[in-house]
Amino acid sequence: MEQREVIYRHSSAVRLTHWVNALVLLVLLMSGLQIFNAHPALYLGAKSDFDSPVLAMRPMQQGDKVYGVTTVLGLDFDTTGVLGLAGDAGSGYDVRGFPWWATLPGQRNLAIGRRWHFFFAWLFLLNGLAYLLWSLGSGHFRRDLAPSGKELKHIGASISEHARLKFPKGEEAKSYNVLQKLAYLSVALILLPLMLLTGLAMSPGMDAAFPVLLDMFGGRQSARTIHFISASFIVIFVVVHLVMVLISGVWNNLRSMITGRYVIEPAGERP
């Protein structure tokens, strides 16, 4: 019978940039929602067409009742108590997009929210650059993250294994599987750089110097909308990531991202 084997899975550079990124993205998300709350609506194009937002969160009065309504592409959803209208009838309602527990600071304060956002945007940039340069230089991308043609061909099997919550063991568990590779690459090379570029495209100064930022995303309001959608995809990624960490051996996963060491279960055995 095979022995349990301990491998060194994550390099110190990956571990460090991972945790810095986790903290930085949390602060950016919460301060970003604070900034969003200053005008909780999204539009397409160069300017805001207030009559037809892509997304809007607002209070609506119907008779003597007030609702929090979230409009997505013209469809209204009752989101009272969470989006558009926080609080409850007892303690009083509060007109705002996202509720206090999702924003930084919790109270409405656009100026301080921007301070948090831009400070952490710098950390995000420096940490992201360090990760990208290290990953290119050390071969992390090529060795650990680039999927092979063979892996891509068998992606269907990998999806069905994941759907049945069967995770690789033995030799196969020593490297990322193809779904992990694609997920991590899309976040690191598409979503996170997209956050940076759409963020810069919202700066009037940057737009004057580099008008290509406006053309790239179809206008300043489109850039703001893409910034929001891209952030939402990152939130979805993090939720799925955390679920996978939890169900595929939480202590082993956590240890490997803290100390680097990861236990490989023998292929033939059940956990």
């Binding site: 200053a38 805001s48 930084l104 919790g106 301070r115 737009d207 004057a208 110097a209």
Partner: protein, 199 residues
């Protein structure tokens, strides 16, 4: 020296713990109110300003749009009709007696009527207004370049910012000090597209 170091280290640890626990408790209001947090956050503003000055040319123009791109409705924030006695008097007679005062650190204080402002060489532009709240509207403005007014008033060498005072006191006391104001640095003040709109 070593005592001071130890205190500093302890202070640092205490601050770190306080920061950690407030973040965990979701009490980020407290954190935002800490003077050292404010200082740390402000340091990024300096980094941003220095980077922008290095990266952006002060002559770069904001994109200009066509008539067809104009916003149907230009959103106005705050008061569109300030509850101010002086403003109301001026509004009642079409601002015929109103004067723009350019004062402070200038060699030549200016007092210009609307007619005088409109007689000066002007610039007309259709540009996008990006509100700090997040929305944008495209509008058409015509007015004297602010730089021309400042040249006429001749800034003193120690002038660094231009402050604009509004008639709006945001419903506060009605005192001069309570009036809403904004400011820009000299690079923005002398930018080609910075105009003092009269239309």
């Amino acid at each position: 020296m070593s005592d001071k170091l130890r205190v500093d280290r302890r202070g640092f640890l205490a601050r770190g713990l306080a920061a950690g626990s407030t973040v965990l408790l979701g009490g980020c209001e407290d954190l935002s109110d800490q003077p050292w947090v404010r200082r740390a956050l402000n340091s990024a503003e300096t980094l941003t300003r220095v980077t922008q000055q290095a990266l952006l040319s002060p002559q770069a123009l904001a994109r200009e749009y066509a008539e067809a791109d104009l916003s149907k409705e230009f959103k106005a924030n705050g008061s569109t009709n300030p509850d101010d006695a002086g403003y109301k008097t001026h509004a009642a007679n079409g601002f015929a007696d109103w004067k723009l005062t350019v004062g402070g650190l200038v060699e030549q204080k200016l007092e210009l009527t609307l007619a005088e402002l409109r007689a000066m060489p002007s610039r007309t532009q259709i540009t996008r207004h990006d509100c700090v709240e997040g929305w944008s509207c495209i509008g058409k403005w015509k007015g004297v370049p602010l730089g021309a007014l400042l040249e006429k008033a001749r800034l003193k060498p120690d002038a660094r910012y231009i402050v604009f005072y509004c008639a709006d006191d945001l419903g506060e006391t009605g005192t001069e000090e309570g009036k809403y104001y904004e400011s820009v640095g000299l690079a923005d003040a002398f930018h080609e597209q910075t105009i003092s709109p009269t239309r």
